[in-house]
Symmetry: C2
């Protein structure tokens, strides 16, 4: 049945593939992270990892990197704080801004998540040959940096 369905113009539409594959990876990732205080959305994972590796990082910067607006970011921070994974302080230099720091249990979780996330991605895309994965990462990486204003 499905084998010979023609996808119309979507067959040549990059956004279609990005969007559908996103659905699949995200679902799979959610499964892997089930019950881990950090599920659904790149928001929480990215925030946790960035706070862990960049002590004092500000919500607004993470928002930019994850493409969230400030209110969405605020809710993510609130979530992580309320679960005791990160700590929130007002910046000394700019009292509008906050600085985020990891807690002990946050650091523990970060270690675990780092492992799970990279493994999940590798596993999920394992049917793509190594060299093509590298190509993908290279191109998408540049796209990401460009979109987000990192380069």
């Amino acid at each position: 049945m499905a084998e010979d369905v023609d996808l119309d113009v979507l067959n040549d539409t990059l956004s279609f593939y990005i969007r559908t594959i996103n659905l699949a990876v995200s679902r799979d990732l959610d499964e892997c992270l089930e019950g881990l205080d950090v599920a659904k959305g790149t928001g929480k994972i990215t925030t946790l990892l960035l706070v862990d590796s960049h002590p004092g990082i500000r919500p607004s910067l993470i928002a930019q990197l994850t493409m969230k607006d400030r209110s969405a970011m605020g809710r993510i921070v609130e979530h992580l704080v309320s679960h005791g994974l990160i700590r929130r302080e007002t910046s000394a230099e700019d009292s509008r801004a906050q600085e985020l720091y990891i807690t002990e249990s946050g650091a523990e979780l970060a270690t675990k998540v780092r492992d799970l996330v990279t493994r999940q991605s590798k596993d999920f895309f394992s049917f793509i040959p190594e060299d093509e994965q590298a190509q993908l990462m290279d191109i998408l990486g540049r796209a990401y940096r460009r979109i987000v204003g990192l380069a």
Copy 2:
């Protein structure tokens, strides 16, 4: 500020790029399609186009191609039907199943959407060189077909 932030392990995680870029394309696409009875989610667009080019196609097949479950699919079909874009009939061979057909206004919209969607994708990714876009499409296309069970 943002220029020199290291993304931790996410820097080498394909799923991260897929997920964030997905956010960006989807938002951009939504803007392009604003007010068009078909916004948010690959679901409606794909359904409209597939029904247009495959008269009599079944919801369950579209569900497979768009990675939705039946309930999500049902709601999309319901939405399109209620907006007069497609028509729903019970299949003669299998009265459990339905066959979907495009309506006049649905066909009109499909034409418009086909154009908008392909252009949006091209524009959005225009900063990626042609040949790299082709590579991306090739790899992601195979990934998609594999995930969805098309090959």
